[in-house]
Amino acid sequence: MNIFSGLFFVIWTVFSGFMTVMFAGSIHKDVQSGSSSSWMYVILLFPLSFVLIGLWGLYTSFLGVKSGFSKKIRPKTEFAKGTTLGVFFFGLPFFVAGVGVMVFLSIVPVVKSVLAMGWDRAPAEVTHSQLKTNYDSDGNTYKADVHFRYTYEGQVYHSKTYDFQIMSTSGEKGHRKKVDSAPVGSLHDAYVNPWNPNEAVLSVKLSWVYLFTFIFGAIFAAVGGALVFSPFFKMDKGEVATKTLPKPKLTPGPVVLRCRYGGPVAKFIGLFIFTIIWDGVVLILFKQDAPVWFKGVFGFFAVIITFAFGHSFLSLFNPRPVLQASSKHARLGGSLNLNWKMRGQVQKIESFTITLIGQEEATYRRGTDTYTDRAVFHQQVMAEYPHGNIPSMGTCAIKIPRVSMHTWKSQNNKILWLIKVNGKIRKWPDINEEYEIMILPY
């Protein structure tokens, strides 16, 4: 268990869960009053996705990591010193800014709005109402500047707070709507804080701006948080040792191999959720008065993501390979028998190969991005049909080289042995599946 990452994800989950509940209540209220369609519930997928990230983080923090070492032992040589401090300070501004945006521009206004719903009501008269414009070379921002006078328990008070949104935004339409709804001389029921009657607002409606602000803040906080907390994730490097060697628990008998990345269905579901979230945000963005360049960038990626989603959808109808190996494990110098069959319209495939691959995978970070480079060190074609006429099933023997590297996985570096199945289909997404087998030391 890692207490630092666990604490981070507890806070993350509570925050995002709270936001989800708040927005669910607001949407439900709008739907019940008839001002919104019940399709608006779909919007809840946005904050819900952050809750899921938090739950995943909690799972990996508290259950997913089991350390085999009790002491944090580090060698004194130069390679152990690392660059964790640099990464920490690089990520800190992103993390602080993201959390600041989430807390002060989203969570605090939402909490205040919800609390104000229970405040006392008092008659109020608008004394000043104007759309305030902040001129800027990057685009103007707007804010509804509404002042009002209200009488509470026989005393007259003044307030300049229309609602709890403290930020000027580029959405002129939304702020103009507020000004139009409160012209000078109009009468309203103000929400007055009974414990501090100097505090009052005209509107406690939850704005979509809070949700967008939360999402953008959360993205910054997530990227920064990943960098800031990464040293704590890696604190006990000794634990790597317990994970490096495959345990020789040989399961006798044949096994059906699983696709390395879950296969086309998992890919489709993942892209489906991502596309819904991304395109949903873009759709709402296009309905707002967002700057054109902003719409352009988000719209461009929306097109690419939608294209990838379409590609994954078509892949669902591909013929599916099913691989059965005589064992999931083999030793260097040993062998495995592989039975394969194709489900679906195998005649659509123009060329087909099954290849044994030995592959290095090195993961490293550059700036805030993480990259994984791959290099193949062993390649052995086991079945090849370059000119069509693919049979619906077949058998092949895998001969593992005697002198090579066994399967090995550490935190950032891996040696993997894979069976790759490739099939080319004309005018259709190709079949590209990987299946991992475990090669044990000689």
Binding site: F79, A362, A375, N412
Partner: protein, 123 residues
């Protein structure tokens, strides 16, 4: 001037072998602790990984000599590829001065570093 020496009878080992050796040291100040460690680490494109496989403490005197022995696990082998290398080593560290000596060793069934991509079956 402080000096630490690691003495090994051989530098090449097979998986599951025993490593026997000794360290002797002369330090400027009396250390708080001295440790001998067997470990591997990665070098190459990826972020470095390391794992301490065994560690023994020796009496923290200003000068002295001590024997040690470790059992090598089944892997990982010492290897080198296009992206990754795994290197095994023994080091002796004196704290708090951080005086250190390190001796690289090879761990593989052939007794030599495995070079990924080389076709050993043909050679």
């Amino acid at each position: 001037m402080s000096e630490i020496f690691i003495n090994l009878r051989q530098l090449s080992f097979k998986p599951n072998d025993e490593i026997k050796g000794s360290v002797h040291w002369v330090l400027d100040k009396e250390p708080k602790d001295i440790a001998v460690r067997l470990f591997w680490y990665t070098r190459g494109r990826g972020t470095e990984d390391l794992s301490i496989v065994g560690s023994v403490s020796v009496p923290p005197k200003q000068r002295g000599e001590a024997d040690f022995h470790f059992s090598i696990p089944a892997g990982p082998y010492t290897f080198s590829g296009k992206l990754i290398s795994v290197i095994w080593a023994i080091e002796c560290v004196a704290n708090p001065s951080d005086e250190c000596a390190r001796q690289e060793i090879t761990v593989s069934p052939t007794g030599e570093e495995i070079l990924l991509g080389q076709d050993y079956d043909k050679t």
